[in-house]
């Protein structure tokens, strides 16, 4: 199942929220400690990717917000 998920993940049509949910699931599994060794490693690896993806999404979002704010500021100054 993890394989499938990881695959799904790499195909990357995921939203931030899906990524976060997956990340939480992984963290929970890792915390529970009931994964086989290689699955643990893969899960850990996936979690790293998810963290990275989420961070990027957030950065992107922040950037968009800033851009929007800037546009609005320009508009409200210029006209």
């Amino acid at each position: 199942m993890e394989e499938t998920r990881a695959a799904e993940w790499n195909s990357s049509g995921w939203t931030f929220e899906q990524a976060m949910r997956r990340l939480e699931e992984i963290v929970r599994q890792l915390e529970a400690g009931d994964l086989p060794l290689d699955a643990s490693i893969r899960a850990y690896e996936e979690s790293m990717k998810l963290v990275k993806f989420c961070r990027e999404q957030l950065d992107k979002a922040e950037f968009q917000l800033e851009k929007l704010g800037q546009e609005l500021a320009d508009e409200s100054v210029s006209p």
Binding site: E31, S47, V51, C54, L58, E62, G69
Partner: protein, 469 residues
Amino acid sequence: MNALTRAADAAEAVLSVTELNRRIKERLESDPRLLQCRVVGEISNFKHHPSGHMYFTLKDETSRIRAVMFSSRNRRLQFQPEDGMRVIAFGSVGVFERDGQYQLYVEDLEPDGLGALYVRYEQLRQQLAAEGLFAQERKRRLPRFPLRVGVVTSPTGAVIRDICTTIERRYPLARVVLAPAQVQGPDAAPTIVRALELLYGLEPKVDVIIVGRGGGSLEELWPFNEEMVVRAVARSPVPVVSAVGHETDVTLCDFAADVRAATPTAAAELVCPHQAELRAYLEQALARARKAAFVKVAWWRDRLSDLATRPVLRDPARIIAARRQLVDYIETRVREAQRRPIGLRRRTLAELERRLQRVELRGAIQARRRDLMRLEHQLQSLAERQVLLQSRKLDAMIGKLEALNPLAVLRRGYGVILDEDGQSVITSAQSLVPGKRIGIRMHDGTVEAEVKARGGDAGGRVEQLRLDL
């Protein structure tokens, strides 16, 4: 006189006081003129004794007499005698011997003249009052602007003249309708009633009626106390002003009327307004109406200007300004909130990362390594033990075998003779024929030998010795 003469005639004859008083008493009480006499006079020193007897003095301008009226007599009196009251007393003269006093024993007492009328007046007043004829709530208000004023009075007297003069002067709008009546004398009452009835039936109606006559004695005013007159006044369909006599004279007619005037002139004044006042009122009314109309307009103008100058109308930008503030406020909130979803998520992400970091995969690997090491050691020792065990078992076996070594006796010098091929043991000498090749096994080896002889020649010759072991 007779007694005195007799006393002079018989000087020596001395009487006791008692005898004298008795003689006086006999004399007085035998005079028919002093029995059943009527005396008019004014009451003074009136005392109503607790025993019920009345004691008083009757007097006139020059003389007085004591009087007593026993309770058996005075119980029936219609009025309460009092000092200063003129009365007619009916009774007889008698003597009270103990005091030597003569006095009038009153059998009946009535008010003198007017007094009697007064009593009738009072009795009728009480009766009619009890019927409610004089009740305050029956009183009507006078019409304010009468057109026709009915007057019941003598057509020739001053009363109608006074009334006409007054009304003409004050209020010429009103027409006076005179219903003539006799206002004194025993026949007056019916004429008054008839005059009233006339006015009551008149068409067009009169608006108000004045009933009046000038001042006079009680007897003169008496028709206006007559029951028929009083009742006629009381049933008037229009308000009645009573103006009978002077101010001090109060007739029952006054009680029955709606308004009482002191004089006919006063009645006329009560009945109609003064035209000067009316004209003044008209002016005033006009001025008031005008002022009120202007006030109304001004009031509306104030209200309008109050509304028109309300900030919201004068400065409509306020309508906008409040909303602008709202927009600003909401924009501020949006701007403040815009990063919140990101912030919240960053926190969640950071928390997940922290949790990830806390996950001890390395530790788990170490633990597994330790498990593995333990297994490895276990395996090693188990495998070694297995070999050791087998090797001990083998050693034990070897020990036993050594003890059971069938060749052990050979050490003590025994030898075993084997056949030529060393396979079978030769147990009988019979089979040992000379020349037969045999093997001899000693403890430390086997030699080949050849049988040389048998029997007695016990010593065989060993040709060859070879160690086979």
